[in-house]
Amino acid sequence: MSNIAGKAYAMNVISPLRPSMTWLNKFLFWSAGTLPGVLKGLITLSLIHYARWVIIGRDQFPHLDETQPKEELSYNYMLFFSNFNGSWDQYVDSFTFAIPGGLDTLWKWTVRYPKSVPLTPFHDYIRYNQIETIHYYNAYPLAASNDVKSAKTVKSSLIKFNQDTQNLSDDEFLKSYNTLLRGLQHDLGDMHPTPIVSMSAYQVERRQAWHEKNLLEQQEQSHGK
């Protein structure tokens, strides 16, 4: 299993939703996605790459063949998928501390949702309803969500800077360069691998190291003979 790919963590949560309340829940999601400013709280959680909620009706699970048994469920289900940076605790707690009201508004229609405050019952609920990812792929394991955003600023600033400084004297160039650095001071910074970039990368590197060590020992033995 691998919930981790570089700096990103994949969270999957499935929660039963009372059919009588689903319309209201969908309306609240629609409001959150449509009305300006409602998602402001979520935007402040800059550790998120992408997140989504999917509500499946109890009779809407894909049915592709006559031989496939039809689902007979009492509840509709809400699936939550998130891609974020940092640890599980940091992420779950950031919801509790930053947007407890907003989170509760979207989630409280699910069965036995304990609310996001206090922390311990909320942790228990997420743990109970979380499903482990088997394979997780990230196109940029070295980067956090903030790196992706700041990289865009760096790229456009560099191109503009190059255009603007084509005909400047050396001293004027230096002045502009210092202005550029001052402007980008929140966007620059080295990216490095996390201690375990991904479970897959870790496993591959461990195996490579093991083979290299064995090969070296074999070579030494054959030279010794």
Binding site: M1, T67, R112, L188
Partner: protein, 234 residues
Amino acid sequence: MASNISGNAYALTILSPIKDGFTQDEIAYSDIVRDRLQGWNAESNSPMTLTPQTYLCRFFVLDDVYTESLPGASALDTIVDWLPFVPDWARRCALPAEDHLKSRYLVFSSNFYCGPGGSVDDYLRGMWNAIGDRVQDIWGYCYGFEAVNDADSFIAYMKKCQLTATLFFVGANDDPLEEQLKALYLKQEFAKFAVDNQGLSAAELKQNFQAFFERVQPANLSAPTWAAGKYRLD
């Protein structure tokens, strides 16, 4: 009302029912799917690196649904606890129902760049063309996948398994993947440049910057840049 699209980013959610059966060695089909996906973790990088425009994606097997049920935790339950003459069936009615799935589902969730057109077809076609054999390996035990033999039938199949996102939130950005990777490469290189070129004279700095700009070619998205899925700084 609900939408899979936010700007130029697309949220693809696929639930493919896995056949309820066993191989001759008595291994459940769902376990084979799980095992093959697990095998992807041991490769030097994910096969999904080859699928164009994929930002982040995941696979897992949904074995069942979960209903957390603690006795005496709901409002009705508390009321019946206060009334000892209430029969047991009434108490049981106050507890959540117990749901179970009849099939296991392969879940594939992907976030990718779809462009202004917002079509999922191009993405799925790119996926089939890049890793069609790996796709067959994973989806081969799912109901209805027998009919898939080319990109068009794959797109049609995936659309039957697709669920619509109720709310899709983009926290990073929705640029094309090549654009994002080039920008990350530039950020890394320029941070290094800024550190290495401190305290130089104006003339030297200008000369070095021009050489740097020529080397990194900011407008050229194909090279030099980061490869998709790059996890080491070499």
